[in-house]
């Protein structure tokens, strides 16, 4: 099993437990909120489980950034500004933002948070450790 497969498998296990979803629902492209039904408290639940599973500390806001949507410099008229997109890229180098950039509406923000994004985050953390 490659490193990525192993990480995916452990991430999947955490998500199945935290969100009470079936194994086969947890695909790389699945959105945590839209496809897997995650609510705000579930994000902390997921962080707790990932920390335990991978033996790492995940600082607040590191995996799921906070205070972006309420900042008028980053979000105007329901869309991310260029500065907002820049901030997203800076804070989430592990996320695939290519699709979101085409139409960076606040309503689509949740779609960035996919299973694959978590796998990417863990990969970046495991590499630097």
């Amino acid at each position: 099993m490659s490193d990525r497969e192993e990480i995916f498998s452990k991430v999947k296990e955490s998500l199945v437990e935290a969100l009470s979803v079936d194994d086969d629902e947890v695909t790389t492209g699945a959105s945590l909120t839209r496809d897997l039904g995650a609510e705000s408290i579930d994000f902390l639940d997921i962080v707790f489980r990932l920390e335990k599973s991978f033996g790492i500390k995940i600082p607040r806001g590191d995996l799921f950034p906070e205070n972006l949507l309420t900042n008028p410099e980053f979000v105007q008229d329901g869309k991310f500004t260029a500065a907002g997109l820049g901030e997203l890229k800076r804070r989430m180098p592990f996320a695939d933002l290519s699709k979101f950039e085409q139409n960076p509406a606040v309503g689509a923000f949740g779609d960035i948070f996919t299973v694959g994004m978590i796998v990417g985050y863990i990969e970046s953390r495991v590499r630097t450790n």
């Binding site: 935290a18 408290i41 579930d42 902390l44 639940d45 707790f48 335990k52 607040r60």
Partner: protein, 162 residues
Amino acid sequence: MRWFWIDRVTRLERGKRARAVKNVTLAEEHLHDHFPGYPIMPQSLMIEGMAQTGGILAGSVVDFKENIILAKVSRATFYRQVYPGDQMVFEAELVESRSEGHRTETRITVDGELVAESSMMFVNLNSGAGQGVFVFTEALMQLLRECPGFEANGSTSGGQDG
């Protein structure tokens, strides 16, 4: 009626574990409706007792100065029924804790026999925005002051089993 589903906190080790008891009595109105002729303690209220025990434990981390509320019951399993005359012992352990929230694992026993287990999550609500402290009210703090070893400043040092 006050919304207390534990009678007494009998042990509190700050940020580690808490123990509370509840005596189930036929004087409780709800038992006569649940069910007529067959009074058993509702599991939903046992959940509330576990949440109160766990919430106090989580509150001890911040010396009861922030509002801490139940956010998620990740798992709850019940093994047997609880009847009038039973004393439920709640034992909660803080298994995860950080500034945003906490996770507790709690079990209920009656006469040493396992009745229920749960895993719960709590979040800290900022006490700003004029909300004040509405969770750890004077009535609740009074309950805590009756716990052996509880110190008035909230820096609990652990108590005796009782």
